[in-house]
Every structure is written in C-alpha cells, then in structure tokens.
Symmetry: C2
C-alpha cells in the first residue's frame, strides 16, 4: 500500500510535505539531533489527525508530534531512519471558546502560548503560563511536556492549569473530554496520562484551560543576597508577608548579570556594587490599586535590616520592570554567545536547594575547574538550570566531559530527593537517565501503560521510554 | 492454603479481626450497603501492607481498602459474599516529616485529616483541604477519592495538593515516590492514576502534601441574593476585587436556613428578613493584619448598590464566623432529621450553574411536587448538592422514584457539559452511571489501565468499574 498516497488523500497534497520541505522539522531547537522524516503532515482538523493516526497505526509507521519545536530534549525530532511521519499541529490553532464567568477557555494544540495569553487578556482574564519561548511554543507542546516557567510558584505547572483534554489515540480513536469543570470525580484520571507524556501515548489536539483574574497590580524587584540560602529564606518570608502573592522568584548568579550585560543590548547591572547572588522577585494581584510596591519595599527593607538582603532595587515603571526581567530572560541567549556549554535542569526540595548549589559548585570547582558555573532558575520550585560554560577554545573539551558531569550532578540531585529533569522532560536526550533514576516498579508501570495505550508502539517511538 | 493463617502470620493475631468484630467495617456511613467481610486487617507498616496484598493476590482474594468510612458511595464497604478482606489503614497514622521551608509534609494514609491540619498549623503552615468529616476522614481516603470540600476554589482538589505518593500495588510491589518536588518532569504521571481511583488500582500508604502560608486574616459574610445567577456574578467580582483571596463561596437556599434553624441547636437566621438564596463568602490571607473585613464590607456594599446583594452580615468575631459556618455545615445533619431524601452531587461549568438550578428546580416542581428541593454547595467549583427531601410519610414514596429523578438530573448536568459526580466519586453506587455517561473510549481506557495494574482484579472489586 502507498502510505504517502493515503496520507495525501486524507490531507490534500498541499498539507503533506516531503523532501527538502521537511528540513525545518528535522532538527531540534538546540541542534542536538538531526533526523530525517518520511514526510511532514499538517492536518487542519481533529478528524484529519484521527485518520492520519489510524493509517499510520495500520501501517506500523512511527508518528512524531511536533509543536513549536522549542523543546530542550529532542522530543519533537524524528529519528535518522527516514521512516517516521512528523505530525505538525501548527494548523490546529484556533481558540475555540472563552468563558470568562467560568474562568476558562478552550484552545487547540497549535495555538501559540502568547496567543492564548492575549485572548485571555482581551476577556479581562489571565492565563499564567509564561516562559522564554512563549512567542513560538505551542499549547500542545506545553501540555505534552507539562511546561513550567516563571509562574509555577503561584499557579503550578501546565498540568495544574488543565480542566479537560481532547486526545487522538494511537489507533485513531478520539478521546473527547473538553470539559470545563473544576470538580469531576468520575473514574481514573486517564487524561492526566497524556500531560507530560511527550506525545508517546497519543496526540493532544485541544485543551480546556483555567484562567485567573486579570493582573491589575505588579511589583518587581531585584534583591542582592549573599547565597542561595538567603534567597530561600527571603522567599519563605515573602510568601507569608505578601498574602502568598509572590508570582515569580528567580535566582540569578553574578555571572548571569555579567554575561547578559556583555552580550545583550540594553542590559546593565541595576545595582551599584556587584553581589554574588540575586533574587528577581515579583508580586502580582488582581486587586486594582493594591499597594504592592509599598509592600515589597517594606518586606525587602525588613529583610535588609535582618541582614538577609544586601541591596535591592524596586522597579518604578513598566520600563524598569522590563529591564529587570530582561536580565533573567536573556541568560540562555547570553550563554549561546559564550559558546559550548553543558545544561542541567535539576530540582530538589526548596529547602535542599542551598545544599545542592554548595555541593554542586564544589564538585565543579574540583573536577572541571576550567568551566564557569551558571546556576539560575526558579527558587520557588526548587528548580535550577545548573549550567557549565566553557571559555572559547575550552568549549569542545568541556562537551567531552558531559557524561561525567551529568552523572555527578544528577546523582547529587537524586541524593537530595531531587529530579534530573524538572521541567524539560525526557525526549530523546534523557531516556537513559530515566532508566537509571526511576524506581524499577515505576518504569515497569510506564511500559505497561505504553503497551496498553499504544500496543504497536507508533507514538513518538524511542522518546521517554526505550522501544521495547 | 489457609489464607487467614497466612494473614495472621503477617500481622500478629491482634491485628486481624474476624466475626462480630468486623461489623463496624461492613457497612457504609450512609447505610446504603451492608456487606460481610472475610476478615479485617489492621497493618502497622507499609511492609505489612505489601505482604498482605501479595498473599491476597496469590489467593485471588479481593481486598477492600478502608479509611475513615465517611464516603458517600459505598467505596469502602465489602460485598455480601464474605470472601473479601477489608484492609484498614487506620494504624498507619504517623505524620512522617514536616518541611516548613519547602512548604510540605509527609503523612501516612491513616492520618485523620484534622490531625494533618493541626500538624501544619504547629509549623506555621496551612493544609487547606477542609470538609465536613475532617474530624474522622483519613488522608488515604481523601487521596483515593480526590476529596473536595470548601476550599477547592482557592486551593484545588486533593489531587492538586499532592507532591508525591507511596503506593502498594496489587501484587505487593511497593511504588516509592514520596518526593517533595514542585517540578519533576520525568515520564508519565503514574501516581496520578491512584488519586481518585478509590483503591481499585493499589493501596496508597503515604503522601507528600503541599502546605501554604498560615492564614493570618479572615473575613466571613453571609450575603442574601435573589438567585444563583447573582451569586455567580458576585463571586466573579469578588475574586477580582479581593486579589483572588476568596477561599470559600458556598450557596445556601432559604430552606437550608430554615431546616438548620429548626433542627440544629444554636443555629438561627442571622438576617432580619428571609431571602431566597444566600452566599457564604470567606476571604483569607496569610498577610498579618490585612484589612479583609473592610475589603469584604466594601465589595458587598458595592454589590448592594449594584442590586446584586439584598442584604448581608459580616462576622465581627470568631464566634459569629463559626455561627455562619455552622449553618452551611449542618445542612446534611438537618436533612437527616427530616427523614429520607435523594442526594445528587453534580457539577457544571460555573457559568452554567444558574441554568442548572432553574431547569432542575422546574423539573422537580413538575415531576416530584411533594419533594422539597435543597440545593446547596460550592458555587466556585460549579458543584451543587442538589438534594430532594421527602416530608415525613412521603419519604419512602420519594425513594422509590430515585432512579427517575437521578436520570433527569444527571441528564440535565450532562447536557450542560457537567458531571454526575463532582466530588463524591463512584464507589459502588455510581458504577452504572459511569458506564452510562463516560465516553466509550474513556471507559475502555479505564478498563485497560485496570487490567495493566491489577491483572487479577483483586483491588476493591466492583467499585468504580464493573468486574470484567
């Protein structure tokens, strides 16, 4: 049977790319992987997705779901065989409905995150998922990778923002479920299996998402602290003192300021003297005119008196606020300017974070002295991007030690009750890590679920779980 | 083989009840079911639970996990055969650890909910799950039924409060996972399957739970409104105006005031004139001295000016606050004084709630005119306990129409995108309802998951899913 002919029959010729046209879908954002696709399908409806999957399942052809291609683990890249179909959700990009009184909306998988944020805003509501790639990442990818970002502390991960899902299963059956209910205790949480499964159990085509009251007041500050321990204590105090309205709390090391100031136009150190660590804190409230600036200034003042904070600047305008955020958000780009590096996305309990940084930095200093440590991230979630950066010509030598460094840092995280992948997922990059760190019973259950939902193993083969 | 002998060998003779001693475990709280147990096991450790399950799995003996026995659907009651083992978690009742800086604690399944609330309080933290039976329900049951209650609007269901789980599988394998991480994207959410599974997939033995800053300020009011639509609009405004600090928002009908005032000592109508509906609103904040009373008074004043609220009383003391809550919390007890009734636990999108009440009330008036409607519940979650109450001698006649009434109300909820079981679950009572309303594909996946995790079907047989 001619599968491509069948697929073309389902989609129309213009929506099935082959040959050269597939190139943008064949490598990942970080260029870790270069695959080759059988073809790229761009369906325009759930029904087309269902018929595509049924055809691929019958033909035992692997399907690689593809969103905004901003992932860090190669989860959306086909393998090198040229036998896998890339399934782009980009044309399923409608916001189907908005229900402000229910604080919810329904978005298709191909909606860009920023588009969903804007639609919510237009309805005087707030969709809180926010991450660096929000201008290009897609909701389907956010759902399939259980995306995190800078507001997890307050609103949770993508998983926590979902009320309902519509999913196409491996065999083409459609699992409906775009309910907008806050409470629905009717059996197993089947839909939850697809969140964070990276397209290995089925294809999410749409989701019913939670909204929140529009943010009316914000206060943002950069506080200099002596060490991560001070940042953790500051956060715990700020949560209580602000009525739990801390919406972001990001740790930035001195080198983060230096590298962004060096490479990113418009970034400069907002404080007069250098400090070893910084916390970017933001309070947010839906209450119009709530004096959050005063509250944040007072709380930081008290922390200064207590010796917890060494210096701080509170943004006095939207422009100043944007400038503070630009430091944090430009760190990955600034790192790229410095050449090759090693990235790690670990999490530990918030209370164990200072210990992780201390021991991790000591290990790096002892074993990879040439590397510069760039440890930044989401303190409130215990999530650090614990990255090592080479210096010019040292880059390639550092990359050769990737395995040794990863082992040391992931072992350290595991020893503190942590995770080797806090928000980036598994994809293709961390399959062996999952096998190493997941309890054997848990891994066995994951394989059992995979077999039950995708018996022919066509869904994103080799991602998350090794092919069995 | 003598299974009871084996079980006694695992537990010691004192921890295996047989005969008369099993009676308290053989019927449910509402006395809908009267079963007969082979025996009741009271293990004291996870290891004992694991060995019990391994033995029962080998012998193909059904196991019925049992917590505080406060469920509404018979989920913890053995069948009539006398062949099922009741597994009480009551003696696994330690809070294993508290980590205030990580805002988390680890509690065993047999901990009573109120005990967990107290331990959190002692650490200046807040565990927000709160429901009428909190003095006797157990954490394991809360987890297994994904309990709701009066703070879901602000903090979510039990599912949303879980960071990690420890589970014993049907064959006795232990699935570890008491992590305290806010972020951990490492494969499928296997643990999520056990939340809300009512013990049909395995036995939850402990959980790592989220804590929040201790509540320092509270404001509580009872507002009289014309109809549920006004309550929904009031809630949407109050969420925005209060910086999303509404922690409860409960709808009470006039008859709720009348019945509680008649039957419950100390309850009286706090307003001077009668009104058709009431909203019990509470704001809460961890900010010390936050003027929530003033904020609530002002917001209700504005709503009064706008014609949304007809009268209101704001509690001026802890005693007054308790008196307002007593009305809401005594409704189920007051109903019991009135004799037989029919209970329904529906949810719809919050925006569809007024429509549900209007159409549901019209149906009841037309088809069961002798019944009194007592519709109350959690407006913020779209969750209503839509109950019909007989009058004295009419009670038995009303009960005979249970099936017809249930069908009409559940069909109405389904037609509005709602659920026939918002927070009470399925248990034994609603197995046929689940089969009727769940999409066929979803039901098929539930059975596939059940087969994958409990191939011999020993876990709480016949609950949630029909035995296959």
């Amino acid at each position: 049977v001619d599968l491509l002919g069948t697929l073309r029959g389902i989609l129309g010729a213009g929506d099935l790319l082959t040959g050269e046209a597939c190139a943008p879908f064949e490598s990942d954002h970080r260029r870790l992987y270069q695959g080759r696709a059988l073809a790229v399908a761009l369906p325009r409806s759930v029904d087309e997705v269902a018929r595509l999957l049924a055809a691929c399942n019958a033909a035992r052809v692997g399907v690689v779901p593809h969103g905004g291609n901003t992932g860090y683990c190669g989860g959306a890249t086909p393998d090198e065989s040229g036998t896998q179909l890339v399934l782009s959700l980009a044309r399923l990009n409608r916001v189907r409905s908005v229900d402000p009184e229910n604080y919810s909306l329904i978005a298709e998988a191909g909606c860009v995150l920023a588009q969903v944020q804007r639609v919510a805003e237009a309805a005087e509501r707030h969709f809180p998922l926010s991450l660096g790639s929000e201008g290009s990442c897609q909701i389907g990818g956010n759902l399939s990778t259980n995306a995190g970002g800078v507001h997890v502390l307050r609103y949770g991960m993508m998983r926590d923002l979902v009320l309902g899902l519509e999913v196409v299963l491996a065999d083409g059956r459609v699992l409906p479920g775009l309910t907008a209910l806050r409470k629905d205790n009717t059996g197993y949480d089947i839909r939850g299996l697809f969140l964070g499964a990276e397209g290995t159990l089925g294809v999410i085509t749409a989701a019913s998402l939670k909204l929140f009251p529009a943010i009316q007041s914000t206060a943002t500050a950069l506080a200099a602290v002596a060490d991560p321990g001070a940042a953790v204590t500051l956060l715990a105090r700020l949560r209580a003192a602000s009525g739990d309205s801390v919406s972001s709390f990001e740790l930035i090391p001195r080198i983060g300021i230096e590298l962004t100031a060096a490479h990113i136009p418009g970034v400069s150190d907002p404080l007069t003297a250098p400090h070893p660590w910084y916390a970017l804190c933001e309070l947010a409230s839906s209450r119009l005119g709530e004096p959050l600036d005063a509250l944040l200034t007072e709380a930081l003042g008290a922390a200064y008196e207590a010796g917890l904070v060494r210096d701080a600047v509170v943004a006095r305008s939207g422009r100043e606020r944007a400038a503070l955020w630009k430091i944090r958000e430009s760190i990955p780009e600034a790192q790229r300017h410095e050449g090759a590096g090693l990235k790690h996305d670990i999490s530990v309990p918030v209370s164990a974070l200072p210990q992780f940084v201390e021991r991790g930095a000591a290990w790096v200093a002892a074993h990879v002295p040439a590397a510069r440590l760039i440890a930044y991230g989401h303190v409130g979630d215990g999530n650090l991007h614990f990255n090592l950066q080479g210096r010019g010509a040292d880059g390639p030598a550092l990359l050769k030690r990737a395995e040794e460094v990863r082992r040391a840092l992931h072992d350290l995280a595991a020893g503190l009750g942590g995770s080797f992948s806090a928000e980036h997922g598994i994809g293709r990059l961390k399959v062996a890590e999952l096998e190493r760190y997941a309890p054997a019973t848990e891994l066995a259950l994951m394989h059992a679920v995979k077999r039950a939902l995708d018996p022919n193993g066509i869904m994103n083969p080799g991602k998350v779980l090794r092919r069995s």
